[in-house]
Amino acid sequence: MPVHLTINDKPIQAHEGQTVLEAACAHGIVIPTLCYHKDLSPVGSCRLCIVEVEKLRGQVAACNLPVAEGLVVHTETPALVQSRRTVLSLLLQNYTDAGYASHDGHPTEFEHWVRYYDARLPDGTSPAPRYPVDGDPNPFIWVDLNKCILCTRCVRACEEVQGRFVWGVGERGSYTRIIAGADTRMLEARCESCGACAAYCPTGALDHKLSIRQGEADRKVTTTCTYCGVGCQFDLNVKDGKVIRVTSNPNAPVNGMHLCVKGRYGYDFIHHPDRLTGPRVRRYLLEGGKKVLHEPAWDWVETDWNTALDITARKLAATRDQYGGSSIGVLTSAKCLNEENYLMNKLARQVLGTHNIDHCARL
C-alpha cells in the first residue's frame, strides 16, 4: 500500500511498514544516524535521527517512526540542529581518542557528524579516559571503550548478524557500558572473533587489531574469499602492494557485512614467506629414481605445473592399474569452486574408477 507523506516540503511516496528514515533514505534525504544501521533492528537510543513532525509533540526518532498518510516531516530545522549539536556534544564529553586507529583515511561516522554539526565540548572541559585503551586480549578485535558512545550496534550485530550473543549492556545511567559475557573477556564470553561488532562500530571503539596503525590504504580490491565455498565477498585494503585490512563490502550479494574470522582476519597467508606459489615435488621423482626417504632425494623442489601434473597422473595411473581404482582416495577442498569439485568427482569416478571421494567441508 502506498503511503504519501511530505519530508522537507517534498512530497514522497513510501510504502506501508517503512519508517520515516527509510522513506527519506530512499529519496536521497539524509538524516543523521548513529545507533541505526539498516541491517540491525532499530532501537532509537542515540537521538540523532530526531525529526519534527507536524501535530506531534517533541522531536521524534525517525528510525522507529512508521510512515503514515499525510505526515509532514521536517528533518533539519534550527531546533533540530541545536538538539543534535547538544546530543553530539554530550557524547563527546565521554569520548577520548588515544590515536590508535585502524581507519582508512576516512573519518568515522561519529567524527563525521561531530564535524558536520560543529559539535564541541563545553569550554573548560577535557574528558579523561575511563577505560584501558586496549581493553581486551582478543587477538583480532581491538577494544577501546573510551570511544564508545553506547549505540549498541555491536550488541545487535553480535546477536542479529552473527547469532553469538557475546556483547551486552551493563550497569545503568551514566555508568552504562558495553560488556562481554558476565563482564569478562571476549573469548571467555564465547566470542568467535568474527569482527562483526568492529565492522558495525561507528566510532572505532571496536576495531580491527591487526590493522591498528597500518595507515591508509591506496586502493580497495573487491574479491571473493578463498576459504570456503560460501563465496563471501569483501574488500582487500591494499597499501604498497600489501593487504593491510579486510573490510566488509555492504553490497556483497551473498554475505553483506557478515564475515567469519578467517575471511576477515585470516589474510596473513597472502604475504607469508612460507606460502607456496608453485607446485613442488620430491626431488627423487624428478630424477626418475627410486623412492628414497632421506635427504637430499626426499627434499621438496619447485617445478612447473606440466611436470608436476605428469608425475601425478603417471603415479595415479600406475596405482590404479596395479592395485585397482578403489585403492585410491580423493579429498577435495572447500577452497575450490563448486565446478572444480564437480570435476574432481568426475575424475575420481570415471577416470580413476573409485568411489572414495570426500570433501574437507564434511570433516
Binding site: G44, R47, G58, Q82, L90, G170, G173
Partner: protein, 579 residues
C-alpha cells in the same frame, strides 16, 4: 595469543535446583537473582554464568540485569551475611529533613562495623524522612546521632492516616485504619467486593462506559483517561490479555500507593478484577518496587485470602469469569515506573523503555494486549462501580473526576497524605490541609507534582491545580507537594533532584543518560558558587534537549523542575554565577 583456556565448569547444583524451582522460565530471572543474592549476600560472575547457562540466556544479558537493578550487587566473591543490608535513603525529602547519607552511613559503620550500608535513591518513605531500610524493614525517621536506636530495633512507627483532616473527601481512604488490612472479613464488613459484584451483573462494555463516564484519569501522573485505555485493550483482538498494576512508585515525594496497599489491599485487587472483566484479561500482575517488602507480602496475603473466598481465581463469585493475580517484585529502579520499562522488567529484562507505538494496549506484556494502571487508579474503580459514575464524577467540580490522594511534605505543620477533590490551590493545600507553614517559616517555593514536577513561587499559590494546570506552570503529577521555606535554596533542591534523575536514568538514550549527569555536575558547581559564565544557558539547553529528544516520558519530564525553577528564581541562580 595470550588468552586463557576456558575450562569446563559444571553448574552449581544449588543454582540448578533454584532454576528448576522456577520452572526454568527466563522471565523469572530477576526473581532468581534476588533469591540468590539473599542467600549469598552478593552475586558473583560464576553464579550469573550458571544462571545464564541453565536458562539458555546470554551471560551478558544476565549480567546486564544484575547490574541494572540497584538492589542487586555483583561482587568478586559471595559474602556470608549474618546481617542484612542497611539502605539509607538519598532522596530530596530525606535530604531536606536533615538526612545525610554519608553521616548516617558513617554513624552505622562506626557503631556496627559488621553491617553493610548502601545508599538508595528513594525509599518511598517520605512521611518518615529521613528513612532507612534495615533488611526488609522500613524505618524512620532516623538522624545520624540516633542510628543505634534503629539498629536496636526501634524502627519508628508508620504514620497513621485513619483520621481525616478537615475538608477531606475520603473515598479510597474511607476505611483506612478502620479495617484490618490483613483480614478479608474485615474488608468485607465495610463493603469490599461489592463494586465487583455490581460489575459482574453488567456486560464488560457497560463497565467500560461507566468508568469512561466517571472521568477517571490515570493516577500515575500523566492523567490519561482510564476508560479510554480500557476501551483500547478491550478492542484488541489478540488473547490472552493482561492487567498490570503499577505499584513501582519510586519517584521522590510519592508514597500514596504504599499507604493504599497498607490500608486496604483488597480495594486494589477488586479494581484489578473489575478491569480484567471489562477488558477480557485472564491474568494480572502487580509490579511492586523491591523496597516495599512488607507491602508485597500484604498483597500476597490478600490475594491468597481472596482466592480462598472465591473473589479471585477460577469462576469468580460464580460468574464464570476467572482471573489470577501474581505479585512481581522489582529490585530498585525508578525507570520501571514507566509502563513499557515496567513490562520489560516484568519479562525479566533490563528495565529499559520500549519504542511506542505499538502501545501496551495492543502489544504489552509478552507482546499481548495489556492494561497498565496505577495502584490509585485501580483503587478508585470499585467505588465507581458501586456508587455510579455520576456520583464519582461530581466529587470534583473539575474536568477530572473523583478524588485524588495528595501528599504534602516540607515545612508545613501537618505534613502527610490526604484525599480531596481536584482543583485545589496550593494555598488551600498548605493552609487548609497542611495547617499552614511552620512557625517562623516563610513560603519560598514548592515542588509540585513529584520529583519530576514544577518548582513554583508564591505567584502560583492561588492557581487551581489539576491535570491541565501544568500549562499554567503548576503540575499535579502524582499529587505531591513539597513546601520549602526561605532557608532552602531552589538551586540546592534542583541539585538533589538532578542527582536522583542522573542515578536513576536507565542509560538507554543520550539526552537523559548524559544530560542528567551534566546537569547534575553543573548544579553542584552552581550550588557551591563555583560556576562559570554560560552555565545557566547550558542548563537551560540541556533541559530543552532532554524535554524534546529523550526516549521516554521520564527523560522528557526532567525539564519541568529545571525550567520552572529557572523561570521563578532566575535571580537566585544568577547570584550563584561567579562574577
Amino acid at each position: 595469543m595470550t588468552n586463557r583456556k576456558i575450562k569446563f565448569k559444571p553448574v552449581s547444583p544449588q543454582i540448578e535446583a533454584l532454576v528448576r524451582e522456577h520452572g526454568g522460565q527466563p522471565q523469572a530471572v530477576l526473581k532468581m537473582l534476588v533469591e540468590l543474592q539473599t542467600e549469598h549476600g552478593a552475586l558473583t560472575r560464576e553464579m550469573l554464568d550458571d544462571v545464564a547457562r541453565l536458562l539458555e540466556l546470554p551471560a551478558a544479558r544476565v549480567y546486564g540485569i544484575a547490574s541494572f537493578y540497584s538492589m542487586l550487587e555483583v561482587a568478586e566473591t559471595a559474602q556470608s551475611f549474618a546481617m542484612s543490608k542497611i539502605r539509607v535513603c538519598d532522596g530530596p525529602v530525606c535530604w531536606l529533613c536533615g538526612g545525610d547519607v554519608t553521616s548516617i552511613g558513617d554513624a552505622i559503620r562506626a557503631g556496627h562495623p559488621e553491617r553493610k550500608v548502601e545508599r538508595t535513591s528513594c525509599l518511598g518513605l517520605c512521611d518518615r524522612a529521613p528513612a532507612v531500610l534495615v533488611g526488609d524493614e522500613q524505618a524512620g525517621p532516623v538522624l545520624a546521632e540516633k542510628v543505634s536506636a534503629i539498629l536496636a530495633g526501634k524502627i519508628g512507627k508508620s504514620i497513621d492516616y485513619s483520621l481525616p483532616r478537615p475538608g477531606e473527601v475520603r473515598v479510597m481512604l474511607a476505611h483506612a485504619g478502620k479495617v484490618d488490612p490483613d483480614s478479608l472479613e474485615s474488608a468485607l464488613s465495610v463493603g469490599a467486593y461489592q463494586g465487583l459484584q455490581a460489575a459482574l451483573k453488567r456486560t464488560p462494555e457497560e463497565v467500560i462506559s461507566e468508568v469512561e463516564n466517571s472521568n477517571l484519569n490515570g493516577r500515575g501522573g500523566a492523567g490519561f483517561p482510564a476508560g479510554r485505555k480500557w476501551r483500547f485493550v478491550a478492542a484488541a483482538t489478540r488473547t490472552p490479555k493482561f492487567v498490570v498494576c503499577n505499584a513501582d512508585e519510586s519517584e521522590p515525594l510519592i508514597f500514596k500507593d504504599r499507604v493504599l496497599i497498607d490500608t486496604n489491599p483488597h480495594q486494589i485487587l477488586e479494581g484489578m478484577v473489575i478491569a480484567a472483566y471489562a477488558v477480557g484479561a485472564s491474568s494480572g500482575y502487580i509490579y511492586i518496587r523491591g523496597e516495599y517488602v512488607s507491602q508485597a507480602q500484604r498483597l500476597e496475603r490478600a490475594i491468597e485470602q481472596a482466592e480462598r473466598s472465591g473473589w479471585l481465581g477460577e469462576n469468580i463469585a460464580c460468574s464464570g469469569f476467572s482471573f489470577q493475580i501474581h505479585v512481581h517484585r522489582g529490585a530498585g529502579a525508578y525507570i520501571c515506573g514507566e509502563e513499557t520499562a515496567l513490562l520489560e522488567s516484568l519479562e525479566g529484562k533490563r528495565g529499559e523503555p520500549r519504542v511506542r507505538p505499538p502501545f501496551p494496549t495492543t502489544s504489552g506484556y509478552r507482546n499481548l494486549p495489556t492494561l497498565v494502571n496505577n495502584v490509585e487508579s485501580f483503587s478508585a474503580v470499585p467505588h465507581i462501580l458501586q456508587r455510579g459514575a455520576e456520583w464519582y464524577k461530581n466529587l470534583s467540580d473539575n474536568s477530572a473526576g473523583g478524588t485524588k490522594l495528595y501528599i504534602l511534605l516540607g515545612h508545613v505543620n501537618w505534613p502527610g497524605l490526604f484525599e480531596a477533590p481536584f482543583g485545589l490551590t496550593l494555598r488551600q493545600i498548605i493552609d487548609g490541609f497542611g495547617g499552614g507553614l511552620r512557625h517562623g517559616s516563610k513560603f519560598h517555593f514548592a515542588l509540585c507534582g513529584g520529583a519530576a514536577g514544577t518548582i513554583v513561587d508564591e505567584s502560583l499559590l492561588d492557581t487551581p491545580i489539576d491535570y491541565a494546570s501544568a500549562g499554567k506552570g503548576i503540575s499535579l503529577g502524582a499529587g505531591a507537594f513539597l513546601v520549602c521555606d526561605e532557608r532552602v535554596s531552589p538551586v540546592a533542591m534542583l541539585r538533589e533532584l538532578m542527582h536522583f534523575f542522573a542515578v536513576e536514568s536507565c542509560g538507554k538514550c543520550t539526552p537523559c543518560r548524559e544530560g542528567t549527569r551534566r546537569a547534575y555536575e553543573l548544579l553542584v558547581r552552581l550550588a557551591e558558587s563555583g560556576s562559570r559564565p554560560g552555565d545557566l544557558e547550558e542548563l537551560a539547553r540541556l533541559a530543552s534537549v532532554m524535554q524534546a529528544a529523550s526516549f521516554c516520558g521520564l527523560g522528557q519530564s526532567v525539564y519541568l523542575p529545571v525550567t520552572s525553577a529557572l523561570r521563578h528564581f532566575k535571580n537566585e541562580f544568577a547570584a550563584k554565577i561567579r562574577s
